[in-house]
């Protein structure tokens, strides 16, 4: 049977997000023989984005461009994507588990009366049946989940399924579809950029996170410097957010974001179970803390017992030497 899997691409500031390429790779994992059809929704010319998705493994791409699709709304994007789904009748749909993915896919699944497996971090095949692995209880456990009825609809967590290698010689058809976008009841009046500082937490390869031990908003400055030399993002424990050293948007833990970077540097974080739930599946964990009894040392690969305001500047120096 020839399968067809739709991959919903997601652009930010005119560029496709990495997770869109990872979604193509995920579709290939679901069925390596399937035709991968990319869908890109937005405003203006989307052909360049379509080409890029093809370079990363999509076979062809359908774009839907409309002035009402300039900013994401679930209703606008929903209408556009459902029109493509109706044309294509895919056997599967894959999208990134991003802010937009989380908001949009349940609506699509509800409309299509299908199941939806959210936030998969890996895909295995069991007799050609895709089995999705996803964290539950904020990563304290994992479940294996299958679709028992209807199309294979899944969102994937950024940074977990590696994208295919980019092949600029790869070509494919790019069709633009016109959709009459009507009746949008949620109007985005304004977007206030707060997170533009550096890399997005959920997609960062390196995270430097601060806790109560950082002591003040001012105290986060060296953490930002360290994150910058590492090309990473800054996160925080709930304690640091509650104490107003930083915004709740940075919170990592059971409430807050769950992250799995290659390198997680926990600075002045004691390691409450709720925080560990949000980061303990990181590949390498470094803990810097004054208190040698801190729980964070139990999950860290490497620990330094010391004053963070002494350790961090030294660390920045050393890393600059090798970069």
């Amino acid at each position: 049977m020839s399968d067809k899997i739709l991959v919903i691409g997601e652009a930010r500031e005119g560029e496709l997000r990495n997770v869109s390429f990872e979604a193509v790779a995920a579709a290939k994992k679901i069925n390596s023989d399937a035709e991968i059809v990319g869908v890109i929704v937005g405003e203006g010319s989307l052909e360049g984005l379509g080409k890029e998705l093809i370079h990363y493994g999509a076979d062809r791409v359908t774009t839907v461009s409309h002035e009402k699709l300039k900013t994401y709304t679930s209703e606008g994007y929903g209408q556009a994507i459902l029109a493509v789904v109706n044309d294509e009748s895919p056997s599967g749909i894959v999208m990134g588990h991003t802010s937009i993915g989380k908001d949009l896919t349940p609506k699509l699944a509800s409309k299509l009366q299908t199941g939806l497996i959210s936030d998969a971090i890996d895909i295995e095949l069991d007799n050609n049946q895709p089995v999705f692995i996803r964290p539950i209880y904020s990563g304290k456990a994992f479940e294996k989940k299958i679709i028992t009825n209807g199309i294979t609809f899944v969102t994937i967590r950024p940074n977990n399924i590696p994208p295919l290698e980019k092949d600029e010689a790869r070509t494919g058809e790019i069709n633009s579809k016109s959709v009459d976008v009507a009746d949008i009841r949620t109007i985005i009046k304004e977007v206030i950029r707060k997170a533009s500082k550096g890399v997005d937490l959920s997609e960062a390869n390196v995270i430097v996170a601060g806790g109560r031990g950082v002591k003040s908003e001012e105290g986060f400055k060296p953490l930002y410097e360290l994150a910058e030399v590492l090309g990473g993002a800054v996160g925080a424990s709930r304690g640091a957010c509650d104490a107003e050293y930083c915004d709740y948007a940075l919170q990592i833990g059971q409430t807050g974001k769950v992250v799995t970077p290659d390198l997680y540097i926990a600075v002045g974080i004691s390691g409450a179970i709720q925080h560990l739930a949000g980061m303990s599946n990181s590949k390498v964990i470094v803990a810097i803390n004054k208190d040698p009894e801190s729980n964070i040392f139990n999950v860290a690969d490497y620990g330094i017992v010391g004053d963070l305001f002494e350790v961090i500047p030294l660390l920045i120096e050393e890393i600059k030497k090798i970069k």
Binding site: S74, E75, T98, S99, D103, T105, P106, K107, A109, S110, K111, T114, G115, L116, I117, I136, Y137, G139, K140, A141, F142, E143, K145, I146, T148, N149, R185, I187, I188, K189, E190, V191, I192, R193, K194, D200, L201, S202, L230, A249, Q254, T255, I273, Q274, S280, N281, K283, V284, P292, F297, N298, A300, D301, G303, I304, V311, L314, L315, E318, I319
Partner: protein, 257 residues
């Protein structure tokens, strides 16, 4: 205003998870209101106090969910409904829950539905948007501010750390994000009053549903714990040397720099 809150009980965040035979052991676990649903309860109370009306909290769960409903009543909610699926649904999914709630809301006058943006156990975040779609309501997820004026609403929505200002209209479904408010603790008089507030129990039959209508579309086939992390190494010596050693280990052994 007719305000509804969707609530789920979850494991206390302090709980360690143990698994046996591919299932989570929950016999001895402490349960709480899903923390994101607490923001929804608090917001419902604030909106009712500002605009008048009545709040009903609804959960799809089992006998044990009564405790979390009573807590919501003690916080200040007016009425509670437990849709008890223990006998009818062996293992539902988000499709199941949304379908049950759709049937519950059929024929009801609704102005506002609030839910958590995600439950900290299964963390799919699907039920709110799914239900809004089934009811034909607009929805806004991960909200951090809600201002209602007549039939219109102005909302601040968290989008990966940025803030979107969204204008929309009632009836409306929103899912709540941290930062929206500071949920209150139930007061002693609140707890006393809660005992007398109405708590209705419904089953699928009462909603004119049978098991086939809500048959899940997905299935969990296994649950397992992450591999135990080997205990790490606390470096020793002069701080400057420790930092040098750390950078070398990260670069050469772990290859993450």
């Amino acid at each position: 205003m007719n305000i509804y809150v969707l609530l789920k009980k979850t494991f206390d965040t302090e709980e360690k998870i143990s698994v046996s035979g591919g299932r989570i052991e929950d016999d001895a676990a402490e349960f709480i209101i899903n923390p994101y649903d607490e923001y929804a309860v608090e917001e419902a109370i604030n909106q009712r106090d500002a605009h008048g009306g009545e709040i009903t909290v609804v959960t799809v769960g089992d006998e044990g969910s009564e405790k979390q409903l009573r807590t919501a009543l003690a916080m200040g909610v007016d009425k509670a409904v437990l849709i008890n699926t223990e006998e009818d649904v062996e293992e539902g999914d988000q499709f199941t829950t949304a379908k049950i709630l759709e049937a519950f809301f059929e024929g009801k006058e609704v102005d506002l539905i609030l839910a958590g943006n995600v439950a900290i156990d299964e963390a799919s975040g699907q039920v709110g948007p799914r239900l809004a779609e089934l009811l034909g309501f607009p929805y806004v997820s991960t909200i951090t501010s809600l201002k209602i004026d007549g039939d219109s609403a102005v909302i601040e929505k968290d989008v990966e750390g940025d803030v979107e200002i969204v204008e929309t209209s009632l009836p409306l479904l929103v899912t709540c994000q941290q930062g929206l408010n500071e949920p209150r603790y139930p007061s002693l008089p609140g707890i006393m009053k809660a005992k007398k507030k109405p708590l209705d129990e419904l089953e699928l039959d009462d909603l004119d549903l049978d098991e086939d209508d809500v048959e899940p579309k997905t299935k969990t086939i296994d649950i397992f714990l992450p591999p135990e992390k080997e205990s790490g190494r606390v470096l020793e010596g002069d701080i400057a040397d420790q930092v040098k050693e750390l950078v070398s280990l990260l670069k050469n052994d772990k290859k993450v720099l």
